[in-house]
Symmetry: C2
């Protein structure tokens, strides 16, 4: 993938770059600070760099004059790599660049969990739940009057050694005409039993040979977002992927408000219809994208949290919100997709992932199955971080699981300029420790509109390491900087000035925002800490941490450890799986092994109610600090901060030394 | 049952009578002729009898004068038995009454097959397919957070040793609210697996204890008539029974014309809807009659011929009418009743009896199962006589079956005054061998409107024995009687004069009618003759004959043997089972043994195509005679007719001796 080598001076840092990457993104990834407050939109003109060697494209705007251009100055956010480069960042003060180089934190990104279809096949884990068979059946005659169905079944026995076959009524209805129209050359779709020895269902018949056209759909129903993907059951590849906001969102942002709405007359039906409509939109999108017809879809697998699952199945979620918080069921029978209102053929069965409890749902079980936690003796900690965080720890023999409410901070809720991870959201950030000037990156490289969850973590972590905020999340009042100000008694930092934003107002980070983030990360940290303690383990006993969820996949590991959201462990131990729920659905679509094992796995999963575990509150209060009251849990961060302090002093910035644009002494 | 003894003079015949029975019905059953041509309506005034001893009720009309009344004269058709009686029939000529007594034919009615629920239980044949269990479940608590469904399943395991339980989605939807509304005291409905070791489905949950309210429905779908009954699954009793004409009837009288209609655009859907509407009407009727609510119905079992079954299931019957006459399927999967459009709860599964071939359908299989043919080593001949006659012969190891088209004569089709067995149809008949005057009985004892199938057989048999028609079915032209006449070259016998009928026209039996009857009975006789021959048996090898079908149950055995519809066997060997199809449905509703065995039984059933068996046509032509070309097959009849001839002469009536009202010499 890497095509060019880019070296940033004066830091002497080199990184590999894909052709066409912007210099500002490379600098951000390399931990090289460049002032930039318009999110990469090319507006603020602050991200000036000098191209000393090599070829770039773009980066020339009216912000630069002829002299600048002659010197090789370009705007980093508009400038794309086209060869190996040597780039110089103009810095007004000489700092110990070698130190910056040395203090590079842990890996910023975790390994990405890959599933190999070929490997699954080799390991005998590939037992296709739905297969097609092409048949050329001898037609009936005066001497052979077998009924059509018997004829087909007997041929399948003889030709493919298929036994214990049953045919569903809709297929029986199609058989007579299709057999004759297709000259008795047909393809049948076989749905395999999950338990060996059970019956194989003939669920469809098509004229001719369609064995190469066999597809499945996986759907993750999130409270906020629903994702679907289209899987080719012949190649094992994902052909299309699409996400939509859950149509229920206007009836409540979170699970609890949905339950409340479902209790109203007609509410359950309404929420059911809305999520079905969302899934149907996704189905249409991915079918179109993958150039597949609805008839070619043979199965659908769905996972969601317990409330989302019950709403999909039109089961009242009422008792989930009342003590003792009992769900209607944690196992759901297979059901014809059309009976849920899904726009699929009537031969498609919807499989719904089982749950563990009211607050540990099928999405988590799907992730546990998809990531293979249940196949290893090594202890894994599985974290799905969102508004509600779910935590699983265990191995093939046992699992403990719990859920805790992190609050909406990670999705931008309760944050003054918070927003979801959409275009214009500040997603990356760095601060110049001398000038306190920011470097912002937005999603889509447009002027900033707000801050998304991953951006928030990065901003707070950077401000903490730079000493702008302290461990309590309070701004250092001794700093005098135009970006730091007090509004109605609440201190805040100006990330972008009004004229640099899309919204025409200063975008700031407030102490209240930081408080909310601390509570969110504290809930999660104390959550897995308590759960581990309940099963007699420490974080050191965990062999692997799996981060799931759309949000988890954007997490900058270093920053997440800096604020104390993640424990400080070897980043090699951490794996991203992205949408674990969707991964589990994909795996179930590809192999019956998952379907067979999943019920057993859920039986091994013990659910803990953190809110009723006394130590949880103790742990939670201790975690309401950046990174943690007990900083000994974070030795590397402590070392880093101590080192920085030794260079810059506890408060490196004094009013006298700071002016707009740079440090003068 | 019998309460009174009634003796008819001058014949000296005595019969047992139920209190309230009419004298004319008793006389008819006893083989005592009384002139009567208004069908028992009390109109013709011909059925005068003298009550010599005992008490009767009614029978006094304006047709009788004071002197008649003083002598004890009554009209037999209006006169009800209230004590032991001695009744004298006024006969103008003294005949050898003792002869009439001696020549009483075989038993007129066969034994009726009875199913004993208690006996089934004792023999271990009673394995209820659907059972209810009352549960008092401990509610959840902080220390016991099991999901509702798991809680219920665990309790069933613990309390009733129930295992391998699955819960369907509609039940899961009901569980949370019902459990709490009913204080965790509920009744669940369990649908047992047909094969041992499979899963038991929890198909319903109700508040409180409803274990004593558990019902099933059985439905026989005939081409002409649909019958349903409501079965109490606790007591095994039939609580209600109702029949309706099949709503499809206006789209074709017979199977073939229905298939033709089903081939038209929308035709299949239309016929499907019509039969479903008919079944729904029946369901409403029997539910109301038995004072049961729709929710208390737990199962429905349906049987019909192959075309009726395919129309119910909306499977095209198209290929049934084209060589090589292949049905779509002979096994049908269980299907939720609501998906067929049946007005039952969504937890009810419809079971549909499997068929053998295009022309031997589920109704016959149901009869074979219901009558227990498959449990004995004795050879049974099973006859279901209707427009299409189905024939099965075999024992527990094998069955041969075939169907033949008898034509519509038995249902009144092709008969000048033919009608279905409805009010006003002549259903019983006797003729005075001297006067040739008839004794008619109609359904409902109203003035006659026409002749139904059983009436037709009785009339023809009586006319044959009286020598009015000969073996070819032709009237004896040498007889001169006002009831015998020639209309446009076709000879006919006047059964009732216009002023005695409901229709204001003479009701007659024509030679064409007799021809049609001969063809119908010939088809059936040659049918079982051929089938027996194909499997190397003779009628003497048959241990038992089972007569099924609404029509079969009305058959007068003596008359049926007289015309050669049935072979002349010991009537003790013959059993009526009435609607065998409905009986099979009832048995399946009561015990899973039937459901388990039925697939195996259908595998043992070999279907023969009579139309392609060369000897069938030979046998058929030989059977186009009354009773048969080879009268040696009917030795008793031959003896009877020879005896009669010796008394009355070949032609007992001569023009000179016959006048209206009696014989003078």
């Amino acid at each position: 993938m890497s095509e060019h080598r880019v070296t940033f001076h004066p830091y002497g840092k080199s990184v590999d770059a894909v052709d066409g990457e912007t210099l500002i993104r490379l600098a951000m990834d390399a931990g090289v600070h460049i002032n930039a407050s318009c999110g990469g939109a090319g507006v603020c003109g602050k991200c000036r760099v000098v191209i000393e060697e090599g070829i770039v494209e773009g980066g020339i705007t009216e912000k630069l004059d002829a002299e600048d251009l002659a010197r090789g100055v370009r705007l980093a956010c508009q400038c794309r790599v086209r060869s190996d480069l040597v780039v110089r960042i103009p810095v007004e003060s000489e700092v110990d660049a070698s130190f910056l180089n040395k203090t590079a934190g842990p890996r910023k990104t975790a390994h990405i969990h890959q599933v190999s279809f070929e490997e699954l096949k080799e390991r005998g884990l590939f037992i296709p739940p739905v297969e097609k068979r092409y048949l050329e059946i001898p037609p009936p005659s005066r001497l052979d009057r077998m009924p059509d169905v018997t004829r087909m079944i007997n041929f399948l026995k003889m030709r493919y050694n298929e036994h214990r076959l049953v045919v569903r009524l809709p297929v029986i209805r199609k058989i007579p005409d299709i057999l004759r129209a297709a000259d008795f050359k047909v393809t049948v779709t076989l749905a395999r039993p999950v338990q060996p020895g059970r019956k194989t269902h003939i669920i469809n018949i098509e004229p001719g040979d369609t064995t190469q056209r066999n597809f499945a759909i996986g759907v993750d129903i999130g409270t906020t977002t629903v994702y679907g993907e289209l899987i080719d059951l012949v190649s094992g590849e994902v052909l299309a992927h699409h996400g939509e906001f859950n149509g229920q969102i206007s009836y409540g942002e979170d699970v609890l408000s949905r339950i409340v709405y479902a209790e109203k007359p007609g509410g359950l039906e309404k929420l059911h219809e809305l999520v079905v409509a969302t899934i149907n939109t996704i189905i249409r999108e991915i079918i179109q994208e993958a150039k597949v017809t609805p008839d070619e879809i043979s199965s659908i697998t769905v996972a969601g949290n317990t409330t989302m699952t019950q709403l999909l199945l039109e089961i009242t979620p009422r008792y989930i919100r009342y003590a003792p918080y009992v769900p209607a069921s944690t196992l759901y029978p297979p059901i014809p997709a059309v009976r849920l209102g899904l726009e699929l053929s009537d031969h498609v069965t919807a499989l719904v992932y089982p749950a563990v409890s009211s607050y540990v749902g099928g999405d988590i079980v799907a992730g546990v199955m998809g990531a293979g936690l249940y196949r290893t003796h090594e202890i894994t900690l599985y974290l799905d971080i969102g508004t509600n965080a779910e935590i699983v720890v265990g191995n093939k023999d046992w699992f403990a699981c719990a859920a805790c409410s992190a609050g909406p901070a990670f999705e931008g809720g309760g944050i003054k300029f918070g927003m979801r991870a959409a275009k214009g959201a500040i997603e990356d950030f760095s601060i110049d420790p001398f000038t306190l000037e920011p470097m912002l990156m937005t999603i889509g490289n447009v002027r900033p509109r707000g801050i998304c969850g991953s951006g928030l973590i990065t901003i707070v972590a950077s401000l903490l390491e730079a000493g702008v905020i302290d461990g309590r999340g309070k701004f250092d009042c001794s700093l005098h900087h135009e970006r730091l100000r007090d509004v109605d008694g609440v201190c805040e930092y100006v990330l972008a000035w009004a004229n640099e934003t899309q919204i025409g107002r200063d975008i700031t980070l407030t102490e209240d925002d930081i408080d909310n983030l601390i509570r969110a990360k504290g809930a999660i940290f104390s959550g897995f800490q308590t759960l581990l303690e309940e099963v007699g383990l420490r974080i050191e006993d965990v062999h692997r941490i799996v981060l799931a969820g759309g949000f988890g996949s954007y997490l900058d590991l270093e920053k997440a450890m800096t604020i104390g959201l993640l424990p400080e462990v070897d980043p090699e131990k951490i794996t991203y799986i992205g949408n674990g729920s969707l991964m589990g659905c994909r795996m179930s679509s590809l192999t019956n092994r998952i379907r067979r094992d999943v019920v057993e796995v859920t039986r091994k999963m013990t659910s803990f109610e953190l809110s009723e575990t006394p130590s949880y509150m103790t742990h939670y209060i201790a975690a309401l600090f950046l990174p943690h009251t007990d900083v000994d849990h974070f030795p590397k961060l402590k070392a880093r901060m101590d080192a920085r302090r030794s260079i810059y002093g506890t408060m490196p910035f004094r009013e006298s030394t700071v002016t707009e644009g740079g440090v003068t002494s």
